[in-house]
Amino acid sequence: MFPTPIAKTGPLTRRFYMISLPVALILWLLPLIAVLLTSVRSAGDINAGNYWGWPTQWNLVENYTAIFTSSPIGQYLFNSFKITVPTVIASVGLSCLAGFALGTYRFKANLFVFFVFIAGNFVPFQILMVPVRDLTLKLGLYDTVTGLVLFHTAFQTGFCTLFMRNFIKALPFELIEAARVDGASEFVIFRRIVLPLMRPAIAALAVLIFTFVWNDYFWAQVLVQGDSAMPVTGGLKSLNGLYVASWHLVSAGSIVAALPPVAMFFLMQKHFIAGLTLGATKG
């Protein structure tokens, strides 16, 4: 293990490490702690300029009730779910199929198709913006949840396919060969043999894509205009304009918007990190 395990070092180093750890953590998360505290401050605290001290009053219930009653944040949150959940299901589903094709069959165009998916995954969003907006308008899906879902699904499929293909490639190929010898059709092989083994990959991708799509802001600006389909990221921006100088309410809104991906991360931490660090150990 590198660096030297702290247990094997001198008592002074050890003590220093154990003290510095919480200090570093608090400093690192200071901006977030401040937001968390501010989200329960009273308007009086805000007006008095008490932004960084301890709150004089704890207005937890009041502030969080206020943002739900005086702003459409409930609607924004609901929209975010309506955009994110179908996207996760569709992009993971499509990439299971595509990843299976690229991971198990040898055909001429295989690597080419694979690299098209990878390359597309890295392009700047701006090069897609005008045509995608135009297409969405023509389909009559501008300013709708469906319009966003379709784009996100297509775009995330690139990353998902890269991930799935590498995962399937690492599975024991003999399993598939044996099934073919037994006369199983290609679809049966996919359904009965490969798909059950893909569970960890599916879980990892699901949490990652959930976070990516939930946190999207750019496409919400491009494909949505009003409140009816606006996700919570774009909604926060309008909230910021609505509650000028009411930082306790903006903070409460930020916390609410950040909560679902944070919860997702904590619940599925192992899968999340496995997905994110794909390629960090080999390749």
Binding site: M1, F2, P5, L25, I118, V123, I127, M129, S254
Partner: protein, 303 residues
């Protein structure tokens, strides 16, 4: 094979191994072509027109690109993109530093690691809001800290000279967390025998890091650099939230300037916007190509 044993089998049975991959690929490929691959070429095409998005397009040839050459705002954006790229790279060594610091097995370290990773999980919109507040010249924490030393508050986001650096600092926060997690995973897979062998040979600290650890962290380092370059060139959310490109357009980057030209109250110049996007795309293409070539070589080796 089965086919020779049973000569009278249907077309599907005979060819399913050839056709099946394309059936599996079709849905994903169609979506990806329609929403990602075709739009790249459409954008390049639109960049040769003057177009407001509604009325018919007018062909202007390289007109938009010629205009770009003389556009002050374009150069400001390009310069800021370079600053972003260079300073964003700090995320890689800092992320490595934090990963080395946290790569211990003391009580509660798992929770500490996840908490360090937090900034990456939350939306950049939230990060942007938090930092605009942090920088506020009258009541922000930065002003308070400066106040301790008797210095006046700096209006970071309202000052042309500081604004880009201020936004980059905010952007580095989640990016460092991302690099950190990549390095932590890498460190987890470092061969312990080599480390022990190094220790026996008397290698410690820097020598060990340079000659034994870093070579083994190469895949993690490569990935960290790739995601950081892409993150730097994609910077949009923070700028939109924190300054909207201001003051006086001094914090624009290409990604933001493009959006502003094509889709905002400043007008709907889709052609000009697409030309900016094409330039950004070409810059990104350099990195994409390097990445693809490297992956392609790895694939070749794997065969």
């Amino acid at each position: 094979m089965q086919n020779s044993a049973r000569p009278r089998v249907g077309f599907w049975e005979r060819h399913q191994k050839r056709i099946a991959p394309w059936l599996f690929l079709a849905p994903a490929m169609i979506m990806f072509l329609v929403y990602v691959i075709f739009p790249i070429f459409q954008s390049i095409d639109i960049s040769f027109y003057e177009w407001d998005g509604l009325s018919p397009k007018t062909w202007v040839g390289f007109g938009n690109y010629v205009e770009l050459m003389g556009d002050e705002a374009f150069y400001t954006s390009l310069k800021n993109n370079v600053i972003w790229l260079v300073l964003y790279m700090l995320a890689v060594p800092v992320g490595l530093g934090i990963a080395l610091y946290l790569n211990q097995s003391v009580f509660g370290i798992r929770l500490v690691k996840s908490l360090f990773f937090f900034p990456f999980v939350i939306s950049q919109v939230v990060v942007g809001l938090v930092f605009s507040w942090f920088y506020d010249p009258s009541y922000g924490l930065l002003a308070k800290l400066l106040g301790v030393f008797g210095l006046p508050g700096i209006p970071v986001l309202a000052d042309e000279h500081y604004v880009t650096y201020g936004i980059i600092a905010a952007g580095l926060w989640p990016q460092i967390a991302y690099c950190m997690i990549l390095f932590l995973t890498g460190l987890n897979n470092v061969n312990p025998e080599q480390v022990e062998a190094g220790r026996i040979d008397g290698a410690t600290g820097w020598t060990m890091l340079r000659h034994i650890i870093l070579p083994q962290l190469r895949p993690a380092t490569f990935l960290a650099i790739v995601v950081t370059v892409i993150g730097a060139l994609r910077s949009f959310d923070m700028i939109s939230i924190m300054t909207q490109g201001g003051p006086f357009g001094s914090s624009r980057v290409l990604a933001y300037y493009m959006f502003e030209q094509a889709l905002s109250e400043y007008g709907y110049r889709m052609g000009y916007g697409s030309a900016i996007a094409t330039v950004l795309f070409l810059i990104m293409m350099v990195y994409i190509t390097i990445f693809i070539v490297r992956m392609f070589k790895a694939e070749r080796r794997a065969r």
